[in-house]
Amino acid sequence: MARAFRPCVLTANDLFDGDVVYLAPDGAWTRRPGGARLFEDEAEANRSLAAAEAQEDVIVGPYLAAAAPGGRQGPEPVHVREVLRAAGPSNYCHGKQAGS
């Protein structure tokens, strides 16, 4: 049985410094997890993923990651891996969290 679609964001790593990036509603790539576009339609998500795969001049390894709508801060990651990608490593304050 196919897995049920869950709301998600489109994420990748920046080509130049590897930083975690998210596709924003305006089609640009943002480094702010809360600035990500939340996809609630599977076909739309897959179309955007296919388009992202053609953008390897700026990003590497795009994929869809489950996310919750969140509040005013924007979408929130669901899986612990994505929580860490959104925040930075938990041993030091030197990833994304250092800049927020």
Binding site: N13, L15, F16, D17, G18, D19, V20, E56, D57, V60, G61, V78, H79, V80, R81, L84, R85, G88, P89, S90, N91, Y92, H94, G95, K96
Partner: protein
Amino acid sequence: MYRYDSFDREFVRNRVAQFRQQVERRIDGSLTEEEFKPLRLMNGLYLQLHAYMLRVAIPYGTLDSRQMRQLARIAERWDKGYGHFTTRQNVQFNWPRLKDVPDILDALADVEMHAIQTSGNCVRNVTADHFAGAAADEIADPRPTAELLRQWSTDHPEFAFLPRKFKIAVSGSPVDRAVTRAHDIGIRIVRNGAGEIGYEVSVGGGLGRTPVIGTVIRDFLPEGDLLPYVESILQVYNAIGRRDNKFKARIKITVGEHGIEAFRQRVEERFRIQRRAFEGADRARFEDIRTMFAAPAYIEAPTGAFDAALARDPAFRSFVDTNLHPHRNPDYAIVTVSLKAHGATPGDATAEQMRVIADLAERYGHDEIRISHEQNCILPHVHRRDVPAVHAALREANLATANVGLASDIIACPGMDYCNLATARSIPIAQGIATRVKERGDERQVGDLKIKISGCVNACGHHHVGHIGILGLDRAGAENYQITLGGDGTETAALGERTGPGFASDDVVPAVDRLIDTYLELRSDEDEAFLATYRRVGMQPFKAALYPDAALATGG
């Protein structure tokens, strides 16, 4: 130590120049990621969770002060001010930018270092006993053997695309400090009945998702036959190793599927041919290499300052108890610098700490430094009179933690804090255990206890051979940790046995706490170490302590 010749220098510089062009072509769009990825991996450049990661080889864990200072400079100039020393005697920089990597590689080449073959399906950095050239119990220094293997395997055209990665470790003492039996090929220097030095060669060891303790394929290989014999093993593996399934491609699976006897027979057949093909250049090269690993010019001086400090300073006594090991020169000591301050990230050193270690090596340690697979730094040659000064300087730099071999001297892989393959975090678990151990205040009473943590089945944290092994897994999006007991990475190598169901991340530290309590209750006396107690009493009492509700339910 070994110094590059003109061939090494040219080879490394050419690779940097080549990679610089490849990076430029990736950035200007001439290379796709699919084309670029194998090229960057050949040069040790990974893309991890948050950034690129550059893995730099430290051949057989040996460095000098100039190289360590260069690592510090790289950490400050192109990274975030620290480096991470790994279980493969490598150092990893977690935050380089793609365009800077060629400059970093040039800076490494300036001090005869590189990142070649730290990834990919090739022969990786050859590791060795971290006390090599210094240990009191050493038969012979394993580093000339490791260096010969490094030269032979570097850019070896026949072995650039093996079925899977290939790891070789060399030990020169009866005590195996290099975990040789958990390597694709493990080499132990031994003496035969006639007093000749040779090698015991094991094959097909490895951890990962299918852990196997290596099997001895030759119990005595004459020293001069090393390269033709190792090449024969690689040729057989290259020919019959599986390429249809990544998870069955390591040599341990090849040996398991064919059986050690059939595998040995194929190797010996190949060896008869290979031995004739090597015409003595390898042996001549080995002799040249060996001269470069001559013992330092030891100082002759009284050791009174050491004895006085020992009588006067309890902190120094503690440090000596755990962080010093016997040197082959009785006036000297091997000093281990713990990179495991309680609550710190195992294996991390700041640029400033690297400089302190470099300065101490230069001033007091005949300019030699080692990195251990246990993620610590070692000053292998310190005259005993200088140990108090070394200790004082280490204290200033927060590097004098007296815990080597104790419960807080934990191996932990980077885990899901950094690693793209990880299924759970390792570092916070190590930090939590070490902090708890410090709170307990009985670490020295507990004694020898090796806790090893991996954040996925690939087992970079060597959890299978930890006295207490911890494996982090993903259970429906949450971190969950399995515990194994009774693993051993030494000459009495054994794989740990799983205790039962896994633990949520918050429950791991209390679980380890109960294991330590149980050991203290059960040990026959203070000299019986955790592993010995486990071997004597077995799993059951530890299991009962870990799962008290299950024990009640079964009346156990």
